[in-house]
Symmetry: D2
Subunit: 150 residues, 4 copies
């Protein structure tokens, strides 16, 4: 029980100290209009998600080593302001929804002091081609995600 509490405290502390992910826009990511092509934000979201899970101690390779895969169910982006070559995009990630089988991230992206994009992505977990309850299959991760979504 106190072990439980300790872990919660550890996750809370981890979360407090988690850094914002940064992506610097590359030349090849800009389009004919001179701005970051809109499809690339979906890739920046993946980069930020990978980094966020790493910081939490549940990297992709750790999850995949359990033979569990986490496909993307849906994504969305609202573009608020264009960015361009060499802009630094700060991406803050948080859990916006959470159930036993599905969880959703929200990405808030800023550059040059402006909100540039808000993104969402929803994910489930798959083992041997079938959806699994995260709470049962990866209880540690589930606990961490629930706590962070509180």
């Amino acid at each position: 029980m106190s072990g439980e509490n300790d872990k919660n405290i550890i996750f809370a502390a981890k979360f407090q100290s988690m850094h914002t992910y940064q992506h610097e826009v590359k030349y090849y990511e800009c389009d004919r209009m001179g701005v970051t092509h809109h499809s690339n934000y979906v890739r920046f979201m993946e980069e930020a998600r990978v980094d966020w899970l790493d910081q939490l101690g549940f990297g992709f390779e750790k999850i995949e080593a359990e033979n569990v895969f986490s496909p993307v169910i849906s994504i969305s982006c609202e573009y608020k302001h264009p960015t361009t070559f060499k802009d630094i995009i700060d991406i803050d990630v948080k859990i916006s929804k959470m159930s036993e089988t599905k969880f959703e991230f929200e990405y808030t992206m800023h550059a040059n002091g402006k909100l540039v994009c808000i993104g969402h992505s929803a994910h489930c977990f798959i083992e041997n081609g079938r959806p699994v309850a995260i709470s049962k299959r990866l209880p540690e991760l589930y606990k961490a995600l629930v706590e962070l979504s509180a």
Copy 2:
């Protein structure tokens, strides 16, 4: 007035004869899980939209020649089934929403007889950095879009 009717008939006829856009999945579009990386569907949507506007007679270069740009305001994808290398994705495009300043496309994608992805994208028109009413600035296109969204 009858000229108006004629045009409506022409658009209706055009729309009837518009073909489904096809994208064959490339090797470099597949990821470590062996499936089409989810970010690429946003690019397939752009390809289908470009083709759809071309078929309608309002290609990107025609619109840009008017010094009008049409940025993407938002996009979303619901992934229903994975696809992989060499799959042919059939993409049907339709106008799902329409106002004087904004319009929205819906993309229904099938491969191997299965629904693989449903996408949406919303767009506005910009001239000299400011939003313009499509109905006033590009009345012909507006008329065509309204009709097709009916």
Copy 3:
């Protein structure tokens, strides 16, 4: 022996009838200068190579089903003329070098009646992490490649 001859005749005939691969430049493939980003030609070369091997009857999946992989050893591109959105690039593929363990493709790309790029790629075959002689492991493909490189 006559079976051998027949096959040679079949390959020669196949080669005669092989079509040029075409890539239409996508909006998202163009950069801030308004031209096709140079890195994309390496992808067009892969597309053309996949198509060429398919036409020859040795598709990637057929080779990979033998548990043999064919990594890229080297690539090069000489850019002769820029291309842009909606340009159709015609890509002609031929075998430019050939040994027991290595083969090289040459790609000649034209658009709008101009030579736009000349590319090369070299490949070997790998089985269980080790290079294998194509002549022994995939004798049919070896024969076809030798013949076409003559």
Copy 4:
């Protein structure tokens, strides 16, 4: 004359202190074989070149502000070892050839203590659609490049 010497000393000092560019391989940069897709190295080379010119004080935007563009004439890559998701690729850039109208970069890429790729890219300068002598149009940059290629 001594101003000349000072500049040379400044460039030499700059060059001494120039850092190696690092690219961390992203999930979406890996292909079906689980390794970094070969086309992406051409993009990593561009990233490293942009960073190198920035460190030297001749960023892309500074050159483009002079209305001078620097298209890629040719590129090549020799792939020595595969890399994968999360690998850190160290990219060292140097001038490997230099003339009044053309210059060539060499990129040496290491990851996990192994040589993974050697790349080359050649560039010229264009103003109003015509090649210009770097020595005349951008004498400061020319001097820096000559010195660094010595």
